[in-house]
């Protein structure tokens, strides 16, 4: 079966070459038979890549240690749960998984469009999707093949790194890849538009759902990564501005900017060049992320280690950027035609533009900080690392500006908004924000940055709540509906608008959580004897003794800590030291969370008389990050769900205009 896996990958590569050839012949000769053959070839690529992926998972399940990859990342005693995740546990498998996802997305894209008679864009889209798939097929066939056999078959595998034996391993990589891969689809459509010189908003509309879902998965992937890093000691907590973490957020910045700026193109026909540049950048940055993560060129706790694969990504990145730049330059003049100008600097489109500028500034600052060690080494010969203080100092004010815009944007209208309207709309959110300041002071939040983060969060939440209130009120007043019916009518008929607002609300929850965690963390070390009690920030902690356990892949020693607060007994936390049979020992934290704060215990060590060293950490408001993430997911799904737009209202406007045309009263 192993042979079948490698042969499937090889045949997929040959098929993908045929697809590319067939597309070029079909487009050059205007012969639909070759295009149809390319579509079918692409189906074949996804089928054979699926076979290869299933066979690799099967090798993990059946403990087939003839494979170097399985022997390196699995062992007989490993729970099935983690054997299934073996597909993306290491370099080779994760690259196969990435390539397989692209082939599946290509399959879906073709299925959705191949029968449309005006789908001339599809062959061009397929060229770019196929090139990306081919790139991954080159890697898994010729650079790091996942079906490579070992020289000596071991009796048992080396086992999965203990740090990877975490639920985060199940969710973080797949969601992140779903985000990266999904963004390849709008990129391919953008390139099709560029090559065909068809610069309307058709490609944006065609890929709207792809873009939003991919952005959602990218967000989820980043948050799952933070959730996982929070639970693993030495990973720098939820977010540590590590180069690999940064490489995942770089495409997120540009994708977020793209999400907003395409709305301007749809509504006003503006920013055509900018949108193309943004999606090209997003695609390029996801490839750049793979280069950073897989080359080991910049040291990171999350990297795959040193490998030549990263440089293959770098080469691919250079080629892709070369192609994109060529098409952008040769089409630039045409792109600039019919590009309306912004009428006023106080308008919705202007606020979107400012949002784009800030997001790109964040992207650039993060990019610069990430590659600075390379730049400094090239220039001075010394590798200077850039740590969290740089990123926090530079990015925090930019995030604050972004928050302010999130509040301001819903208050503005398209085209132009008068200063008086803007001031009128700003009064309530500003007043409530000012009122929140003394309350924040009383709550103990007195440092400059956290005060601003919390106050701006209040500002945004009030502005968003006001939007929901005004929309509902308008329905009650103008359509005679009751308040609940008016609210339901509004959010159902304007899914995109209110879904977007929910995403913003979710983001604010995340900001509140991160501000609490980042600026108000409490940490203290204790030495405790069995039966000893301590009081920390309103918690009474009683250490009752050590307990040991023996699991399939490790033995552990845990410190049993009873937790009480003012309301009484809350539960028992058991932070552990784990001793794996085939890996280095690890420290597992114990967490008790509630909406106000997380109690986070680290078991640092013990002595013969069972006394222990315990670190107690209180992380305020961190749960808000996880709640906010689910609000973001719900808002995105709500915005993407198929909807019946305000057709009735638009029809009424059409009738009114037609009547005026007939009377000749319109200019």
């Amino acid at each position: 079966m192993i042979e079948l896996g490698s042969l499937s990958l090889l045949f997929s590569f040959i098929l993908s070459l045929l697809v590319l050839l067939s597309l070029f012949i079909g487009l050059r000769k205007k012969d639909g038979r070759f295009i149809e053959a390319a579509y079918r070839g692409s189906d074949g690529v996804s089928i054979f890549m699926t076979i290869a992926s299933v066979l690799l998972v099967n090798a993990f399940i059946t403990d087939d240690f003839r494979l170097e990859y399985v022997a390196s990342y699995s062992e007989r005693a490993l729970p099935l749960f983690y054997k299934l995740t073996g597909l993306w546990a290491g370099q080779q498998g994760s690259l196969l998984f990435w390539g397989w996802l692209i082939s599946v997305y290509t399959f879906i894209t073709i299925r959705r469009n191949r029968k449309k008679p005006d789908a001339l864009f599809l062959p061009y889209v397929l060229i770019f999707l196929n090139i990306t798939t081919m790139f991954f097929l080159v890697i898994v066939n010729f650079v790091t093949p996942p079906f490579e056999l070992t020289a000596r078959i071991p009796m048992d595998g080396n086992g999965l790194n203990p740090i990877l034996q975490n639920p985060g391993m199940v969710f973080h990589p797949p969601t992140l890849y779903l985000g990266y891969v999904g963004l390849t689809v709008p990129f391919a459509f953008a390139m099709a538009a560029l090559i065909m010189e068809d610069f309307g908003d058709w490609w944006i509309k065609q890929t709207r759902a792809w873009t939003l879902f991919s952005w959602m998965f990218l967000t989820l992937g980043i948050v799952f990564g933070g959730w996982w890093a929070y639970r693993e000691l030495g990973w720098g907590g939820v977010w540590g501005w590590d180069p690999v973490e940064n490489s995942s957020i770089l495409p997120w910045f540009t994708a977020t900017a793209f999400l907003h700026s395409v709305i301007i193109q749809e509504k006003r026909g503006m920013l055509k060049v900018w949108n193309l540049v943004l999606i090209i950048l997003t695609y390029a940055l996801s490839i750049f992320g793979a280069f950073i993560t897989r080359s080991g060129i910049i040291s990171s706790v999350h990297a795959f280690g040193q490998s030549s694969v990263g440089y293959v990504f770098l080469g691919f990145l250079v080629i892709i950027l070369g192609i994109c730049t060529y098409y952008l330059i040769t089409r630039y003049e045409k792109l600039r035609e019919q590009n309306p100008k912004i009428e006023s600097y106080i308008s919705k489109e202007s606020s979107f533009l400012y949002n784009n500028i800030i997001l790109i500034a964040l992207c650039f600052a993060t990019f610069w900080g990430t590659i600075f060690p390379l730049v400094s080494e090239a220039v001075t010969g010394v590798k200077i690392s850039v740590g969290p203080p740089f990123f926090n100092t530079v990015n925090a004010p930019l995030f604050l500006l972004l928050l302010a815009l999130m509040a301001l944007c819903p208050l503005l209208s398209w085209r132009r908004t008068s200063v008086s309207s803007t001031i009128k709309n700003l009064i309530l959110p500003s007043l409530l924000t000012i009122v929140s300041l003394p309350l924040l002071f009383l709550a103990g939040i007195r440092d400059f940055m956290p005060v601003f983060f919390f106050a701006f969060s209040v500002f945004v939440l009030v502005a968003l709540t006001r939007e929901f209130y005004l929309g509902t009120k308008a329905g009650v007043k103008n359509r005679g509906l009751g308040w609940p019916a008016s609210f339901a009518n509004m959010v159902v008929k304007n899914r995109r608008r209110y879904g977007g607002f929910l995403v913003h609300a979710g983001t604010i929850f995340m900001v509140i959580g991160l501000a609490g965690y980042g600026y108000h963390q409490f940490k203290e070390d204790f030495n405790l004897k069995p039966g000893q009690e301590i009081t920390v920030k309103g918690y009474k902690l009683r250490y009752s003794g050590l307990q040991s356990s023996n699991k399939r892949t490790y033995e552990s020693i845990g410190a049993k800590v009873e937790v009480y607060d003012s309301s009484g007994f809350k539960g028992i936390l058991i932070p552990e030291k784990r001793f794996y049979k085939k890996a280095e020992p690890s420290t597992e934290v114990a967490i008790m969370n509630n909406p106000v704060e997380d109690l986070y215990l680290i078991f640092s060590g013990w002595s013969d008389d069972q006394s222990i060293s315990l670190t107690v950490v209180i992380n305020p408001l961190l749960s808000w990050v996880w709640y906010g993430t689910w609000i973001v997911v719900f808002g995105t799904v709500w915005a993407v769900l198929p909807r019946r737009r305000k057709q009735k209202q638009a029809t009424a406007a059409a009738k009114e205009l037609l009547l005026q045309l007939k009377r000749g009263t319109t200019a």
């Binding site: 008679p117 638009a650 045309l661």
Partner: protein, 119 residues
């Protein structure tokens, strides 16, 4: 055994992929009609007006802003509506606009495939 299985899979795949090359040459893509583009512009213009109406109903615009913005939007949409009417009149004698629903587009595609728009 594996080799035979793989060989069968490869043959089936190649037959599936190469089969269309034995059909009659055809070009199954139609150009976007002018009317489609005009109707799309009309829809966008009308939606912009309805968005503006919604914002006014919500009390986010002063009456003065609303009236002036609505007038400018109407001035932009009016020529599009005129153009649509003109093209529709001109095209009355021509074949119908590109179908948008899946069933009809399947039919059109099938007709093109069978009759062939030869180059």
């Amino acid at each position: 055994m594996i080799e035979i299985l793989f060989a069968i899979m490869v043959v089936v795949a190649l037959v599936y992929v190469l089969l269309p090359l034995f059909d009659e040459p055809c070009w199954p893509f139609l150009k976007k009609g002018v009317l489609t583009e005009v109707r799309s512009a009309k829809k966008e213009g009308l939606m912009a007006i309805s968005d503006l109406d919604t914002e006014y109903e919500m009390g986010k615009l002063t009456k003065e802003d609303y009236v002036s913005l609505r007038e400018s939007l109407k001035r932009e949409v009016a020529p599009v509506l005129k153009k649509e009417m003109e093209i529709a009149k001109q095209e009355e004698s021509k074949p119908a606009e590109l179908p948008t629903d899946n069933t009809t587009s399947d039919l059109v595609r099938e007709v093109i495939r069978i009759c062939g728009i030869k180059h």
